[in-house]
Symmetry: C2
Subunit: 606 residues, 2 copies
Amino acid sequence: MTEQLLKDRDIEFLLYEFLDTEALLQRPRYSEHSREVFNATLATARTIADKYFADHYTKGDANEPSFDGEKVTLIEETQAAWHAFAEAGFLAAPYDFDEGGLQLPEVILRCAMAYINAANVGSAAYPFLTLGAANLVRSFASETLRETYLPPMMDGRYAGTMALTEPDQGSALADIRTTATPAADGSYRLRGQKMFISGGDQSITENIVHMVLARIKDAPPGVKGISLFLVPKFLPARDGQPATRNDVKLAGLLHKMGYRNTTSTVLNFGEDGGEDGGAIGYLVGEPHQGLFYMFQMMNEARIGVGSGAAVLGYRGYQHALQYAKERPQGRLPSNRDPHSKQLPIIQHADVRRMLLMQKSYVEGGLALCLYASSLVEDAHSGNSELERQNASELLDLLTPVVKSWPSKYCLKANDLAIQVLGGSGYIREYPLEQLYRDNRLNPIHEGTEGIQAMDLLGRKVPAKGMAGYQILAKEIHKTLSACTGNDTLQPLVEGLRDALNQLNGVSENLLLQMSADADRGLANASLYLDVFGRVVVSWIWLRQAAIAQEKLTGDANLPREDMDFYRGKLQAARFYIEWELPEITPQIALLESGNSVTFDMQGDWF
Amino acid sequence: MTEQLLKDRDIEFLLYEFLDTEALLQRPRYSEHSREVFNATLATARTIADKYFADHYTKGDANEPSFDGEKVTLIEETQAAWHAFAEAGFLAAPYDFDEGGLQLPEVILRCAMAYINAANVGSAAYPFLTLGAANLVRSFASETLRETYLPPMMDGRYAGTMALTEPDQGSALADIRTTATPAADGSYRLRGQKMFISGGDQSITENIVHMVLARIKDAPPGVKGISLFLVPKFLPARDGQPATRNDVKLAGLLHKMGYRNTTSTVLNFGEDGGEDGGAIGYLVGEPHQGLFYMFQMMNEARIGVGSGAAVLGYRGYQHALQYAKERPQGRLPSNRDPHSKQLPIIQHADVRRMLLMQKSYVEGGLALCLYASSLVEDAHSGNSELERQNASELLDLLTPVVKSWPSKYCLKANDLAIQVLGGSGYIREYPLEQLYRDNRLNPIHEGTEGIQAMDLLGRKVPAKGMAGYQILAKEIHKTLSACTGNDTLQPLVEGLRDALNQLNGVSENLLLQMSADADRGLANASLYLDVFGRVVVSWIWLRQAAIAQEKLTGDANLPREDMDFYRGKLQAARFYIEWELPEITPQIALLESGNSVTFDMQGDWF
C-alpha cells in the first residue's frame, strides 16, 4: 500500500480556494513570488518529507534516543533529515531576502511544515523548535546576539529549544525558580533545573541555543519577574565555531509513549559551579519581560501543535481510507446470501461514518490551522493598519482553539482510524497505532486543554471589551449572509446561525458569572472551549461547503474528479454541522445554568 | 506512591450494597459458603494480583514475547503468575465441589478477576481465556474429551484459547475457510490459518487447547456450516502427559501497541501434511453448531472485556486521584498573590472535572459489569424458571452494552488520567500511558464497537418481541418508582425518566426504519448503542445514588469516611445524569430523523 501523507488536491483547495493565498502576491513583500514559486516550495517540502522524514518514522519510534551518561545518540537518519530541511533553506524561510531568507509567506511555510510533520513528527520537532527560537532571537535579542546566533540557526549548524517548565511548577510559569545572577561582563549565570525540554540535547547539530526563562535576583514575584535568556550549549569562539562547553548538562532523558525520536530532557543549569558558578546566559530584551517575549514563541508553537495534530490525524485518515477501499469483509445487513462476495468494508455504513467523521476532523483541523497561519501573515503584512490589527486580535482569540481543537479531535481521528482497521490498527505492523501514540502528546504540550480553556474564557474572550470576539462574530455573519438563500446550504446556515446565537448568549452570561465569582465562573471553561471550537469549525466547514457548492453549480464541465472532491466537501460540512454541532445544546445548558457539580465536588468524596 | 489497584470500599459497596450478593447464600448451590468465604477469596485474589501480577506489569510491556522461529519466550514472571492463580484454585473456581471446583458464584469469580486484570491485563489473559475454553469443553464436549482435557485445564497444566479469526475474514465469521476433514478414527484433520489468536503459543504451560471454528467438507455455507473443534498443541498419551506434537504451528507473533505480555499469534493448522495431513482435532458437540457453542465463550469473553476495560480505567483513575492530591501547582483564578503557596492540583475545578468524569466512568463501568455477572449467575442458579429466564434475556440484551460501554468510556478515563498528570502522564516513568495503550484493545477484540452496535439494534432489541428490552424498561421503572419523592434524587429521577421515554420512542422508530430498509435502518446503529449505554449507565448510577442517599439520611452516626464515600457516589451520579446523559437528545434527533449523511456518503467523495 503506497501512502499519500496529505491529499494534494485538498492542499491546493485550502491554499487557493478556501484561502486566497494568491492575493499575497499583491503585497510588496511577496511581489517577487508567484503561485509557481509557492508550489515549487511545497513540492520540495513534500519530497523532503517523503525521502528524508517518512523513511525513518517507524525506526525512530522503535529505536528511541538513548543517553549513556555522556552523550545522547539518535538514529542517524534524524541528522540527514535535519540537513535536508536546512539545505532547502526552510530554516531561513520566513526571513527577508536581504537577511538571507526565502521571504516566504507564513501560510506556505506552515503548509510545508505540514508535510514534514505528517511524515515524521518526531524528527520534525527539531527544525520546528529551531524556527521558533530563531524568530525569538531575531525579534528581541541584541544586535550582538543576533549576529552571533542567527546565522548558524538559519543554516542548520545550531538548533534551538524553549526551556520553560521546571519539575516543581509544571504549567505554572509564575513559580519558575531558575535564577540568573548578573556577572561583571554583562552576561548572567543561570542555575536551576528544567524538565520536559524537547530537543534539549541531541546528536544532530554542533550547538544548541536554549531560550530559557529565569528569574533575576530580586525580581518581582510571579510572572512579572521572569526574564528571557539565551543559553548556548557551547560558547562560540570568535570564528563562530563552538568552543567552550557551557554548564548546561543533560540530567536524563524522559521516555515518552510516542513522539519518541524527539528527545525529552531534564537539563541542569549550573550544576558544576559553586557560589559563583552557573551556565553563562545572555539577557534577551529587557529584564522581567521574558514571558511577554516567550509568548511570541509559544503562540507560534501553539498553532504548530494544532497543525501537527491535524496532520497526524490526516495521515491516519488517508491510511484508513485506502484500507477501507481495499479490504473485503462481510456483507450488507440486507444480504442473506452467504455465497455472495464479501464487500470492501467502505460499503459498511458504520465504516463510512468513521471515515466521514475523520474527514470532518482532519480537513476541518488543517483548514483551521492554515487559516490561523494566514492571520499570522495578515497581522504582519496586511494591507492596512486596521487589517493587521484585526488579524492580530482575531488570532489572539483563536489561538487556544487552534491549539486544542485539532489536538482533541484529530487524536480522535487516529482513534477512529485504528477502529476502521480493527486488530490491524492495533499492531505495529501498521502505522496507525504510532500515529495515535504520537498525537496523544498534543493535548498536553504547549499548554494543556485546561490551560487553553482558561486562556480562552478568562483572557481572550473578555480582552479589550470582547474586541476579538466581535471580529469573529462579524466574520461568521459575513459567511452566513453570503450563503443565505442557497437551498443546498440553507440548513447549514441555519444550524450555524443558531449556534452562534447560543454562543453569544452563553459568552455574555459567563462573563457575568466570572465577574461575580472568578473561580466558579471559570470552573466549566473546558466545556466552553469545546462549544467554541465546534462553532468555529462549523464556520470553517460552511466556508468550504460554500466554495464547493459554487464550483458544483457554476461549471457544467467540471471533471468527474473535481465533482467528487467538492461533493465530499459538502458532505463533510453536512456531517459536521448536523452531527457534531448540535452537541453544543446540552453543553450550553450546563454553562448557562452555571452547573456546579464538578466545582462542588470535594477531594475527600472521591 | 503506593498504589491501590481498586478501591476496596467500593468493591464492598458493589457486592453487598449495590448487588445483594449475600442473598446467594440462600441458594442451595451456595449454602456452604458465607460472606467470609467470599471475602477471603477476594483477599486471596488481591494478594495474588499484587504479588504475582502487578510485579511485572511494566516489565512485560518493555520485554514483550519473542519468537525465534522455534519457540516463544515470555518473561518468566508470567509463568509464576499463572501458577499462583492456578494453585489458588481459580481455574476451577466456577465448577462444583464434586467436580473438584470451588463452586464459586460468578460475581465473586469476576470480582477476583477484576483485581487480576487491574494488576496486569497482559498476564491475566492466559487464565481468562483458559477459564472460557474449559467452560466450553465442560458444556459441550463428549465425556472422553472432558475427561482428557478438563482436569489439566482446571489445575493449570493446560491453557486454552479461542481460535475464530482468519486473515481473510476478520469479524465476518460466515466466511471462515479453515477446513475439517473426517478421519477414519472419528477425529478430524484441520487445515487453515488463524490470526490474532491470543495465547496461541506461549512458554507457560505444557500444553495448549485450541477451541477452533472450522468448516466440515460439504457443510452448508455461512454461519450454519461452522463446527467447533478441540485441537491440542500436543496429543496427550494415555497417562495424560503431552506426547505427540500436533500439526499446529506458530507462523508468527503480532506486535501490539499494548497488552503486550499476551502473545497475539498467527497459527497454521496442518501446514506439514500433504493431501491427508492436517492438525488432529476433535468435534465438540454436533456438526454445524459451532457458532452457537462458541457464543457461550464469546458472551463470557465480552463481559470479561468490558470488565477488563473498566478496571484498567479504574486503576488509572486511582493513580490520577492520588497524584492530584499530592502534586502542588498553581493557584485559583481569584488569587492574584504570587507569594501564596501553590495548591494541590485537585483544587483546580478542571482537574476535579476530569477526576469526577473518570469516577463516573470507571465506577459506573465496574458496577455495570458486576451486575452483568450477577445476571449470568441468576440465569444459572436463579430461584425460579422465570427468574432464570428473565436474567438470561436481560443479559442477552445488555451484553453488547457491557462489552462496549466500558471499552469506550474507561479508555476515555485513561485518557483523562493522562491529562491530569500532564507531561508525566505521557511518559513511561508513570503507569498511565501503558494503561491507555492496553485499554485501546478493548473496543476492538471480541467484536468491535460497530459489531456490538449491529448486535444490539439488529438482534438483541427486536429479539422475541422486544422481550429483553421490556424487562430492562421494567427494571428501570422499578428504580424510578423507588426513588420518586426523594428531594435529593428527584432531579436524577426526572432526567432518567425522560431519557427512558426518549429511548423507548426511538427504539420503536428504528425498528420501523429497519423493517422498511435494513441497511438504512441499521446505518446509525453505533449512535443508538451510545444512547442505550448512557441510559443504562444512568440507571446504574441512580441505583448507586439511591443507596447512598438512604445511608446518608438513615444513619445519624455514620462514620466520616462512609459519609464521604456516599457523598462521592451521589455526586458522581449527579455528574453522570446531568452532564453525560443529556447528550442523548441531539443523538436521538439524528436517529429519529433517520439522518443519512453517513449512509449517503460515497467512496469516491472521500
